[in-house]
Symmetry: C2
Subunit: 171 residues, 2 copies
């Protein structure tokens, strides 16, 4: 599938089939994250793959009680290590690096017919406690992974004219 087709077609999926995700597909999604670029190639990321149903339910509770999250056969928790590292531009490295890797996963999952939904609505402390994540590691994103059982229409987007300017900031 073309990159552009994946970018156009990807949706946030909130209804999943219980069909398991094949090992080969899971590996390819993780591989997509592994190959992501990162500032100075730090690769300061860790991914926790949760398949245990009890743990998935607790994760869903930590995600503001979004119980649909636990319906997916896999939930991936994306973490950033060395959270103190800051780039010259003033941005932390860890959350930007992890965001690149998770974006790779979302697009690759879609190419493989799998659904995902990037979650920012979760209580980090609860997720850390549940998965024994060390204090100095940050949880940046959580996404379910599984076969979609819904068709989702595209959500509205701003026009290019609203988000692009030339030569200087002009809005």
């Amino acid at each position: 599938m073309d990159v552009f087709t994946a970018i156009q077609g990807r949706r946030s999926i909130r209804k999943y089939k219980s069909t398991p995700v094949e090992e080969e597909k899971l590996s390819k999604v993780l591989e997509a994250a592994r190959l992501a670029p990162s500032a100075s190639n730090t690769q300061n990321w860790k991914f926790i793959v949760v398949r245990d149903e009890t743990v998935r339910r607790k994760l869903a509770e930590a995600a503001g009680g979004q119980s649909w999250v636990a319906k997916a056969p896999v939930v991936i928790v994306a973490c950033g290590t060395e959270p103190d590292g800051i780039m010259l531009c003033g941005q932390h490295r860890y959350n930007i690096n992890v965001s690149i890797a998770v974006t790779h996963m979302l697009l690759e999952a879609y190419e493989l017919g799998l659904g995902t939904c990037w979650l920012g609505r979760f209580e980090e402390d609860k997720v850390k406690k549940l998965l024994k994540i060390p204090e100095d590691v940050r949880v940046v994103a959580v996404t379910p992974l599984g076969y979609p059982s819904e068709e989702v229409l595209p959500r509205p987007r701003k026009s290019l004219g609203e988000i692009v300017s030339y030569e200087k900031y002009l809005y």
Copy 2:
């Protein structure tokens, strides 16, 4: 081009041809950013396309004097608006949203035969002053865009075993 092929093949390009980037290709790269998902669909991003050579040179100066940046016929500056917005997980929305959009651009550019290089090494104040970016807008990333004039070998990556664990954080 397959998503996975793009993920595998994309490189950070630091040598560019002076060949202009076709309007159609530039639009498609920007469209890839426009279609990116964002927390609550906020789309709180702005992209500045710089083609003027003098401005590109000044951008390169603000990017720690990386003069090769100005050699690319286009430089894109990716900004986040509403920088105060924070998600339940504790992460800011703007830098994660912009990172997703820039990752889309990098992959789409590669699909179109174009090179990019995500820069975190720049002085935000200087970039903001140069491009008249308002105080309450953050610059998250800068990337040149153009036809590569170098072949870059893949950089080393950690193994899956080093970055993936199951059911809990185990490293």
